[in-house]
């Protein structure tokens, strides 16, 4: 029952805000929205106290949804270590971001709609996470896609936001087509979509079938989690309100693909080839997105590419059969990336919407707490020793190295280390360009425009407390959260996950040079930070010349899509609209009408209106008939 309540609280918040939010007092939507998620978090905390959760999992079967012949699907929920971690991330980070949103959206006239969507998102995400079978998960999967679309296009009167929402929706549909095909193939093969049944059946499943199913499911994951080649929607999704970017497009929804692979890990371990593809795509995406983040000028887009890159790490972990490490990184990433986004949102809030880093700078003085939060998040992202990101990223690189067989797979590890270096560089760059004071020879600081601008009478100011406290909480978690997985203190989170996956063997001592690997990744991170500090010293923007050109076009991937897919489709649609529709279909209709009109015009000449003509025709007909009878 408690499982149902976890979902029902935000759903109730959605109903209240959605139907009555406009009539409530102005502060009510935020309070209702936050309280409902807070209750959901409480319910989740109560639920994970039950010992079954950490053994075989707490299940709740609601009703039989579909029953057709051999196949049947029940609407069921399950809370086991995997979904418990994810539920706590969703409700915990979600709760903090709801509180932050009270301050961030205080002036927005559409805030009851905003909180209604946000609550609906939390409820949908919890359906996805707590689902006991793949069909229920798919329902949640589509619902979060819908919420993502609604919230990206929240300011739908801005064309860029509306376009970004559509782009996210369409790109996700491409992935979801693969996901749905995978589900159907699985339903045909196993005759059940229950996760337990799938796990039982997967060990005896033929490898080609398992490979086909998992590859199709992975297509869905690339769409939802913005991996190559379907990553294009996530940077544009930054058009939505910043708390939405933090919650949906960094912490929770985009990790659904990783979670899905973790949920179906018995099936994925059956398909060696798919795991290789997952790892390769993850590593490639991690490297690619990190390089693009290096040259982006929009702070939020830097963070978006960073998210894509970190999701790549998680997929790399999933692909090298280190699912606990992947889930651990998911958790820490949710915390520190949410923190980074909230700090960016605080900057935007203070600068009246300016987010281009070329126009920012010197914000460390007026916004020192936000700056501190950003730096903590940046350190965790870069993997600075003993922050959250350090433990999880390190673990992934270690497992990637341990899993490596031959040169090709060492390349995955190398890509991971290179990405760690680039990550440190770009996040240092972002921090410097945003917060470092401008060079002294600069006549007027860039934030002058905000001071003297028409919209603001005062300069950048620190965020209000309801925005500050969630950042403080996330900063504390970013600093200390890594110890949940630190072997020095017993790694409580990691161990329960490892027991759950029970397929991830501890690399035996001595097989992997753990210390050396840690040294390598730490020195990559530190070198990256130092390189960033040196490259962008005094807030100058290093252009990186031709390479920078290439990177700022995002490796020309979007141009390629535009040329190869969007352009031809658009031309095809143009052709259909102008030639087929106007020429052939309209032409046929107009032609038939014209022919009838012509025929009528010529036939009307027979109707003279003179009785004698009719009589003459009558006579002629009679004579002809008589003649026929007489002569035949």
């Amino acid at each position: 029952m408690v499982l149902l309540f976890i979902i029902l609280f935000p759903l109730a918040g959605w109903l209240i805000n959605g139907f009555a939010g406009g009539r409530l007092p102005p502060r009510a939507p935020g309070l209702v929205g936050s309280a409902s998620v807070g209750l959901s978090l409480t319910a989740a905390l109560v639920a994970v106290q039950q010992p079954e959760v950490w053994r075989e999992g707490l299940t709740a079967s609601l009703f039989t949804w579909i029953s057709a012949g051999e196949f049947s699907a029940r609407a069921s929920l399950v809370l086991d270590p995997l979904s418990a971690v994810m539920t706590l991330v969703v409700t915990g980070v979600g709760f903090l971001i709801h509180i932050y949103s009270i301050g961030y959206m205080a002036e927005d006239p559409g805030k009851s709609r905003y909180f209604a969507y946000l609550n609906l998102f939390i409820a949908s995400m919890l359906v996805l996470v707590l689902a006991g079978n793949l069909l229920v998960m798919f329902v949640g999967w589509e619902l979060v896609g819908l919420c993502s679309y609604l919230l990206i296009g929240f300011w739908f009167d801005r064309e860029r936001a509306a376009d970004a929402g559509r782009k996210a929706f369409i790109v996700n549909r491409i992935g979801d087509a693969g996901f749905l095909l995978g589900i159907l193939l699985l339903a045909v093969t196993v005759k059940s979509l229950d996760f337990k049944a799938i796990a039982d059946a997967s060990s005896s499943m033929a490898v080609p079938v398992a490979t086909a199913i998992t590859l199709l499911l992975f297509v869905g994951a690339t769409g939802k989690s913005a991996q190559l080649p379907l990553h294009v929607w996530l940077p544009d999704a930054m058009e939505g309100p910043t708390p939405v970017s933090a919650l949906i497009h960094a912490a929770t929804m985009v990790t659904a693909g990783v979670y899905m692979i973790g949920r179906l890990h018995p099936l994925f371990t059956q398909a060696e080839l798919t795991l290789g593809v997952v790892a390769a795509v993850g590593a490639a995406t991690a490297f690619f997105a990190a390089t693009v983040a290096l040259v982006e000028h929009d702070l939020k887009r830097v963070l978006a590419y960073s998210t894509i890159s970190q999701l790549g790490y998680m997929f790399l972990a999933m692909g090298v059969a280190a699912a606990p490490a992947g889930m651990f990184h998911l958790t820490t990433h949710a915390v520190f990336k949410a923190l980074l986004f909230l700090a960016a949102g605080s900057v935007m809030h203070a600068m009246h919407g300016v987010i281009d880093m070329r126009r920012l700078g010197g914000l460390a003085r007026p916004m020192r707490w936000t700056a501190l939060g950003f730096v903590i998040g940046a350190a965790a992202l870069a993997g600075f020793p003993f922050t959250a990101g350090f433990f999880s990223k390190d673990l992934i690189l270690e497992r990637a190295f341990a899993h490596a067989r031959g040169w090709g797979s060492y390349l995955l590890w190398a890509a991971g280390v290179a990405t760690a270096f680039i990550t440190a560089v770009y996040i240092t760059r972002a921090a410097i360009l945003t917060f470092a004071p401008p060079p002294s020879h600069h006549d007027h600081p860039p934030f002058d425009s905000a001071q003297g601008g028409p919209s603001g009478s005062r300069g950048p100011h620190e965020a209000p407390p309801e925005m500050g406290w969630p950042m403080a909480a996330l900063a504390a978690l970013s600093l200390g959260g890594g110890f949940l997985g630190a072997s020095a203190v017993g790694a409580p989170l990691l161990h329960s996950l490892e027991r759950f996956f029970n397929s991830a063997p501890e690399p035996e001592a001595g097989a992997v040079p753990v210390l050396a690997l840690t040294l390598v990744s730490v020195s990559a991170a530190l070198a990256g930070m130092l390189a960033g500090l040196w490259l962008y010293r005094g807030r100058r923007d290093a252009s990186l010349s031709a390479l920078g050109q290439f990177l700022s076009h995002k490796w020309y991937i979007e141009d390629l899509y535009n040329a190869a897919i969007v352009g031809p489709l658009r031309r095809g649609a143009q052709f259909l609209a102008s030639t087929v529709e106007l020429g052939i279909i309209d032409g046929a209709v107009i032609g038939v009408a014209g022919a009838v009109r012509q025929a009528g015009a010529s036939f009307r000449r027979f109707q003279t209106g003179y009785v004698r003509n009719y009589a003459a025709v009558l006579l002629a007909g009679t004579v002809l008939l008589l003649g026929y009878w007489l002569t035949r």
Binding site: F603, R605, Q607, T608, G609, A616
Partner: protein, 100 residues
Amino acid sequence: MIPVPYYLTISAVLFTVGMAGVLVRRNALVIFMAIELMLNSVNLTFVAFARQLAAIEGQVAVFFVIVIAAVEVVVGLAIIIAIFRARSTVDIDDVDLLRG
């Protein structure tokens, strides 16, 4: 007894005269009389054959024709009077409402 072809001949002549009257005259009343002429030529044919074949059906048909003709005269004259009241003419070339 006068042979049947004689009757048929005069009947054909009467019918042709009536036909021509319908086709060439413009006065509605004259056309009406021409139609009566055609009907009566048909009647003549009927009785001629009935006599020759000693069959009563032909004479019965003639009675039907006479009755129908009387009814037709009533309706037709009513229409002509109505047209005359509306348009002050019985010239049928002036009544071409059905012209396409």
